[in-house]
């Protein structure tokens, strides 16, 4: 396929979902089935186009393929802004992931959202999201990226707050939007630093500028950290991770699409795209943020009881992994994990959606509106009732835990190998591999805690048990497809070695060298990964097995009592259960002081400045205008203007007496006149 044809395909992929959004938002409610077929049709075409691009990428088998096309948007002399596409193998893979998960979400939502009062609007927003996400993936410059970056923020806000009648959902939407703003300020500063230094937004030109040394040192580090702040916000990294768990207030398919698989991965995608310009210092910062987030979020996930909250913290933790990979230089491993994670995490979310759907129906039949359908403590024993959901979720859980034969093993292994290599080269950063392996252990533990609590053991609410049924085909189909895609084979073809990530992905998506002097080259990083590969494989398999075993003994066999341990470690347990009190502390030390500050400032502004200064001006003006009014009206108008008129009218009424209308009088006057003239003449 030629480059121009790819651009045409990309245009279709980008704008079809936008078209569906426009149609649905305008006339969606009046269409049959509320227009869901418009959205599903458009996203299906998008998927076909992405598959075609993907197929052509596999056929041409060119790791260095890259095609760019842009149009000029505005030219203000020194300030030139372009909108454009950059299509390389990363773009094509990412487009396929977005299109696939988006299609699955559309299909899953048919039944999940059936009967919703804003059904067509929901599909419209999904279209808007798909459009903006594809925009991020396709952008060839930071400016277009920024536009779509904010657009996904908007669609995320709209979809989290889909059930805005619930205060918690409306608040979660606002929280997500505002928290993202904090990161986006940094992102904007980063973009502008780069533009000021290099005078361009284009990726390629930025790389070139950095390679030539036009921008280096502290400034480049600052710009890198600024850009990374955008990723911190969007990918929900510590300390801005607080919005993602709350975002679970949105419909579950939305959580799967945006808050697990694609949108939150935009931050990772950004760091992957811009990897060549990060300085060693910026990369170290990135690595520590990612590594800390990975283990920190994992420790919260252990104690959560809401099935979606567990998955949310798991997502935060996995995103931390990807960021950690970028920070340690193994950024292709991070991107690989993004792709595999999108599949199994979306599958886990759909699975939880399926469970919640079943719980919801059972509770509905019992007219019970108080029991929480998302609380795992109300579940148990669903294995025989929901076999498809159970088995697909088990596959996805094995994948995320990093068990061999599944995709997660390959990508997690690559990340951990990169981290271990980095740790071996820089022994002072020994914490990074510990973060990585520790998070892997905890991930395996809490994922199987979720599986065991939901599907095994005795039902906690036996009266509901009979009403629990497997979800309809529209919901199980995405589960089956995505759990299938969590098997290693789809990523290692044409090879069949389940222990090595060698395959089309690693052959086609090649790491680029960093443009910053002082960073190790892609080859050196690959060497490091290669050396620590075997050790990592053994360690990570052991760690995953240990996690699953612990979970099995605690939650299935009950050999170790979870309650007793919680008792013993009460302070830690409480910390984890309450998410380390982040929301509370932010509220106490950030929001409240800010609100008080705003209060003070508004006092100065309103009570002092407005009242005395602005209002004072008003009073003076009023007084002055009263005075001039008096002068004008009483002085000028009454005396001069009106006086002149009045005196004229008086003179007129006096003189009109002369006009008698009698000719003889006039004649007499004429005679007097003549007499007077004669008298004057005679002197």
């Amino acid at each position: 396929m030629t480059g121009d044809m790819l651009i045409n395909y990309a245009l279709g992929i980008l704008f079809l979902p936008l078209l569906s959004f426009i149609i649905l938002i305008l006339v969606g409610k009046r269409l049959p089935r509320q227009g869901d077929w418009v959205a599903i049709g458009s996203v299906l075409i998008t998927l076909i186009l992405s598959l075609a691009m993907f197929g052509s990428m596999l056929l041409s088998h060119d790791p260095g393929f890259s095609h760019e096309a842009s149009i000029e948007w505005m030219d203000l002399g020194a300030f030139r802004i372009e909108l454009g596409f950059l299509i390389d193998n990363i773009t094509i893979v990412m487009l396929l992931v977005v299109a696939l998960i988006s299609t699955m979400t559309h299909v899953f939502s048919i039944k999940y959202m059936a009967g919703d009062i804003r059904y067509s609007r929901y599909y419209a927003y999904l279209g808007l999201f798909t459009f903006s996400m594809n925009g991020i993936v396709l952008a060839n410059n930071l400016f277009s990226l920024y536009i779509f970056w904010e657009l996904v923020g908007v669609s995320s806000y709209l979809l989290i707050g889909h059930w805005f009648e619930k205060d918690s959902a409306a608040d979660a939407g606002k929280k997500a939007f505002l928290t993202n703003r904090v990161g986006d300020i940094g992102f904007f500063i980063g973009v502008m630093l780069i533009f000021t230094a290099l005078g361009t937004f284009n990726y390629g030109e930025i790389f070139q500028g950095v390679a030539q040394g036009d921008m280096a040192g502290t400034l480049l580090t600052l710009a890198g950290i600024g850009l990374f702040m955008g990723a911190i916000g969007k990918s929900s990294q510590f300390p801005l991770h607080i919005w993602l768990p709350d975002a679970m207030e949105g419909p579950t398919p939305v959580s799967a699409l945006m808050h697990a698989a694609t949108m939150v991965a935009a931050g990772v995608f950004l760091t992957v795209r811009l990897f060549p310009i990060f300085t060693p210092e910026a990369l170290l910062f990135i690595a520590y943020v990612g590594g800390f987030t990975a283990i920190f979020a994992a420790t919260i996930a252990i104690t959560q009881n809401d099935i979606k909250k567990v998955l949310a913290y798991s997502t935060v933790s996995q995103l931390g992994y990807m960021i950690l990979a970028v920070g340690t230089g193994a950024y292709i491993a991070g991107f690989f994990h993004l792709v595999t994670h999108a599949m199994f995490k979306a599958c886990l979310f759909y699975g939880s959606g399926s469970v919640i759907h079943a719980m919801h129906h059972a509770l509905h039949n019992k007219h019970d509106h108080d029991t929480d359908p998302q609380d795992m403590r109300n579940m148990g024993g669903f294995k025989s009732k929901m076999p498809v959901t159970y088995w697909t979720m088990v596959v996805a859980a094995l994948a995320i835990s990093g068990v061999p034969l599944f995709s997660g093993f390959l990508s997690k292994d690559a990340i951990l190998a990169g981290t271990l290599a980095f740790g071996t080269h820089h022994p002072q950063h020994f914490l990074l591999p510990i973060f990585g392996f520790g998070a892997a252990l905890i991930t395996a533990f809490y994922m199987f805690r979720l599986i065991f609590m939901t599907f095994h053991n005795e039902p906690k609410l036996p009266e509901l048990y009979d009403d629990i049924n497997e979800s309809p085909k529209e919901m199980t189909f995405p589960l089956v497809l995505l759990s299938t895609l969590s098997v290693f084979i789809f990523y290692t073809l044409p090879y069949f070695n389940p222990l090595s990530d060698h395959g089309w992905f690693m052959e086609l998506v090649k790491a680029k060298d960093s443009m910053v002097p002082g960073n190790p080259s892609a080859h050196e990083i690959a060497e490091g990964i290669h050396h620590s590969h075997t050790l990592t494989m053994i360690l990570s398999t052991l760690v995953a097995a240990l996690g699953i075993f612990l979970s099995w003994s605690v939650y299935l066999k009950k050999r170790i009592s979870a309650d007793a341990w919680a008792e013993k470690l009460t302070p830690y347990y409480n910390l984890s259960l309450n998410k380390y009190f982040f929301d509370e502390n932010y509220d106490k030390y950030l929001y409240q002081p800010l609100l008080r500050l705003a209060d003070r400032i508004s006092f100065i502004d309103w009570d002092l400045y407005d009242k005395y200064f602005i209002n004072g001006f008003g009073h003076v003006t009023k007084w002055l205008s009263f005075l001039t009014g008096r002068t004008d009206y009483d002085g000028l108008d009454q005396t001069i203007v009106d006086g002149l008129g009045r005196s004229m009218s008086k003179a007129g009424s006096t003189l009109k007496e002369v006009q008698t209308g009698r000719l003889q009088n006039y004649m007499l006057f004429a005679l007097f006149g003549v007499v007077i003239i004669v008298i004057f003449q005679s002197f």
């Binding site: 209308g661 000719l663 003889q664 004649m667």
Partner: protein, 101 residues
């Protein structure tokens, strides 16, 4: 006696009498008679200047014109007064004020 001053004196008396009549009389016909006196005082002046002032026959010709004009004027004015009388049953010109506001 036979001098210009005498004629001018008589003419002035006639003019003054005519003017007095025109200004003071209320009767329309009497006003017309006053006008006639004024015209004739002018005629006397013309003839007198023709006789003593060396104007040859021009003065006589002017006097003839004035007589003709006075006849025409009297015809028109009397017709107006007859019409006024027909409409208002009076020849008092002070009462003919229907056009006044």
């Amino acid at each position: 006696m036979d001098s210009l001053q005498t004629y001018l004196f008589i003419s002035a008396i006639l003019f003054s009498l005519g003017l007095y009549g025109v200004i003071t009389r209320r009767n329309g016909i009497a006003v017309l008679m006053g006008i006639e006196l004024i015209l004739n005082s002018a005629n006397i002046n013309f003839i007198a200047f023709a006789r003593f002032g060396g104007m040859n026959l021009s003065g006589h010709v002017f006097a003839l014109f004035v007589i003709i004009m006075a006849a025409a004027e009297a015809a028109v004015a009397l017709a107006i007064i007859i019409n006024i009388f027909n409409n208002l049953q009076t020849v008092n010109i002070d009462e003919a004020q229907q056009l006044k506001l």
